[in-house]
């Protein structure tokens, strides 16, 4: 019997500090047993449990894209016991990852559609995965217009800066990067909160346009009315939730919203689905 609690052993291959406050680091992992990489067959939007031996596990969205081979990548915010310990680890250290877990953004349903990605702060990880996935030459033609609205407190708090600036230069993706505020005179992108920028830049709703939102609760709270105003129907607003998790496979019982487990039945839900469940997230 396959033990779903047993992590694949991995080695930390590389660690990048993502933000100016140094609270976010991106970890690139390589599987110790190369065949495990094939078993870890994931889709953009899924998450995994990062297992720090002796400390425990944390559920983290997968930031790399299934189109990127040879490694998997996670961006981790330093918050609790496990993430703090992880931040103190070095390239070369051995740990585990368990997954892929949960569902993913509905890629088949999104085929032939416009996709508007709205992200805030450090919740951009699975959105990065999604963008890389959609921009892959093998996939780009499967989707119509791609819009990305991504904001952070300040320029130094934006994740994946190098990639953001590259995407800015492309003509097959419409980037709307924004910061809450900055005193950098050379800042050439937007200034303003994500909901405001969404109102200005998001394409109007139509039957072929889907929005994927991922961000802090406050951003979601104020973006949702904007999307309502723009006419997005709730079955076309896709969200990714977070809750405290342990098992990641729907067994330990803590992450449920109503009868759905965020870890197994989610983390991706449409707003229409969420409207029918208790708001326990």
């Amino acid at each position: 019997m396959q033990n779903p609690y047993l992590p694949y052993p991995v080695r930390i291959d590389d660690i990048t500090i993502e933000t100016e406050d140094k609270n976010l680091k991106t970890f690139r992992f390589v599987f110790l047993n190369p065949e495990d990489e094939n078993k870890f067959d994931y889709q953009a939007g899924q998450f995994a449990e990062l297992s720090v031996t002796g400390k425990g596990e944390i559920p983290i969205g997968i930031a790399s894209s299934p189109t990127e081979k040879g490694f998997v990548m996670f961006t981790v915010n330093k918050v609790g016991l496990v993430s703090s310990h992880l931040h103190a680890m070095q390239a070369g250290d051995i740990m585990g990852i368990r997954g892929p877990l949960g569902n993913w953004y509905p890629w088949e349903q999104l085929e032939g559609k416009n996709v508007v990605i709205i992200g805030g702060g450090f919740a951009f990880t699975t959105l990065r995965s999604s963008i890389i996935y959609m921009l892959d030459p093998a996939n780009r033609s499967r989707f119509k217009d791609i819009h990305v609205i991504y904001g952070a407190r300040s320029p130094g708090m934006l994740l994946y800066w190098d990639e953001l600036s590259q995407w800015e230069k492309r003509d097959d993706i419409n980037m709307h990067i924004t910061v809450d505020g900055t005193d950098d005179p050379n800042w050439k992108y937007n200034t303003g909160f994500v909901p405001t920028i969404t109102e200005q830049k998001a394409p109007p709703a139509d039957k072929d346009t889907y929005a994927i939102i991922c961000g802090p609760p406050i951003m979601i709270k104020f973006t949702q009315p904007v999307l309502d105003k723009l006419g997005y129907s709730h079955d076309k607003i896709i969200m990714s939730l977070e809750n405290r998790m342990k098992c990641g496979i729907g067994m330990c019982g803590r992450c449920n919203i109503g009868e759905q487990f965020v870890c197994k039945d989610g983390p991706v839900f449409t707003l229409e689905q969420l409207n029918q469940t208790p708001k326990e997230y």
Binding site: P4, P9, S51, K55, G56, E57, R244, G253, R254, N256
Partner: protein
């Protein structure tokens, strides 16, 4: 289905024979209460107990259970890599489990044994276990099994059901596992015509169940309306958010996973957890989606009586054993809450109860 008659004089000898091929568990009196214990040689299950203080769930799903072990010693090849622990999954048998506790394993199985994921610890222990039930001929005053999808002679989950007729035992052998255990015990005197007698005793016992719940309306209710019902404040007021109800419950399965290191080696273990504890759902950021006791009490009852009902279409997640009713320090009674829920009318937001 075979019925076997067991002379009470041969009972103890049969149990003794079983120790050769099974680890035996049964109810034993400790102080003022009965509990399930692994039976030592010559020790017999106490069949006179109404029911045990804690359920039998720990025999398959211990309160603390090691999942993996590891070494942090970097001079070792396998440092920081988790390895499965050796667990004894040799055959075990529970003698004298009540039908409610056996049925509870069936309900819990829907969580641990799914088409997508299988919990190896629970499943291996469940497979290793033969359950020999003892029918309840005189149920307790807080037992409401007959209206909770179970009953004093209920057979789901059992491998054999033993009925005490007074001068001897009659046993219904229900599965292959039950068959094997009876062969090992040497109990083989068939009593073909005893079916009627068992049926009569069953009806007699069922008639003694004086307590009940109504669950007919639960699945038709709207989840969010029920969630927002005004009675939750009244229900939750007295709750002190201890874990008693969840720990004594045979159908509560929630757990926590913890790493515990001693020196350079350690274990990843899981421990029973409880939806009553604030820590259960606390985010790293400090946000808690179930931050008040109203949230947590509501979660427990909504899970058992609504979410579970809707998710599995297998009735309520309760077998009516009455333990939480008896053990709750402040007397929150699931029967009362069930009635409030079942009779909930969103139009009036008042309840008949």
């Amino acid at each position: 289905m075979k019925i076997v008659k067991i002379d009470k004089k041969t009972w103890a000898a049969g149990i003794e024979k079983l120790t050769a091929s099974y680890r035996l568990f049964g109810p034993v009196k400790e102080g003022d209460f009965h509990n399930f214990k692994e039976l030592g040689s010559g020790e017999a299950p106490d069949l006179d107990c109404l029911n045990t203080r804690l359920s039998a769930k720990a025999i398959i799903y211990p309160q603390s259970e090691n999942m993996f072990e590891y070494s942090l010693d970097e001079s070792r090849e396998d440092h920081h890599i988790l390895k499965e622990v050796d667990t004894d999954y040799s055959p075990r048998a529970v003698i004298g489990i009540r039908p409610c506790d056996a049925k509870a394993f069936e309900l819990v199985g829907l969580n641990f044994d799914t088409s997508e994921y299988k919990d190896p610890y629970w499943i291996k222990a469940r497979e290793a276990t033969t359950l020999i039930g003892l029918a309840c001929s005189s149920p307790g005053s807080n037992c409401f099994c007959t209206t909770a999808g179970c009953g004093p002679f209920h057979e789901d989950g059992l491998d054999a059901l033993v009925v005490d007729t007074g001068d001897h035992f009659l046993a219904k052998i229900l599965t292959e596992k039950g068959e094997q255990l009876f062969a090992a015990a040497g109990w083989k005197q068939e009593a073909k015509a005893a079916g009627k007698q068992i049926e009569a005793l069953k009806q007699e016992a069922e008639a003694k169940i004086a307590s009940s719940v109504n669950t007919d309306n639960l699945s038709a209710l709207d989840t969010t309306q029920l969630y927002n019902a005004s009675f939750w404040e009244d229900v939750s007021f007295s709750c002190i958010n201890c874990g008693t109800c969840t720990f004594v419950c045979p159908t509560c399965w929630c757990f926590d996973i913890q790493d515990e290191t001693h020196g350079n080696s350690g274990v990843r273990m899981r421990n029973w957890d409880s939806c009553m504890y604030p820590l259960f759902t606390l985010h790293g950021t400090g946000h808690n989606p179930r931050g008040t006791k109203l949230h947590r009490v509501r979660q427990r009852f909504m899970h058992k009586l609504k979410y579970y009902v809707d998710k599995y279409d297998a009735g309520i997640q309760c077998v009516g054993c009455g333990r939480c009713v008896r053990s709750c320090p402040v007397n929150i009674d699931i029967r009362r809450v069930c009635e409030l829920m079942n009779s909930f009318d969103s139009e009036k937001d008042t309840c008949a109860a």
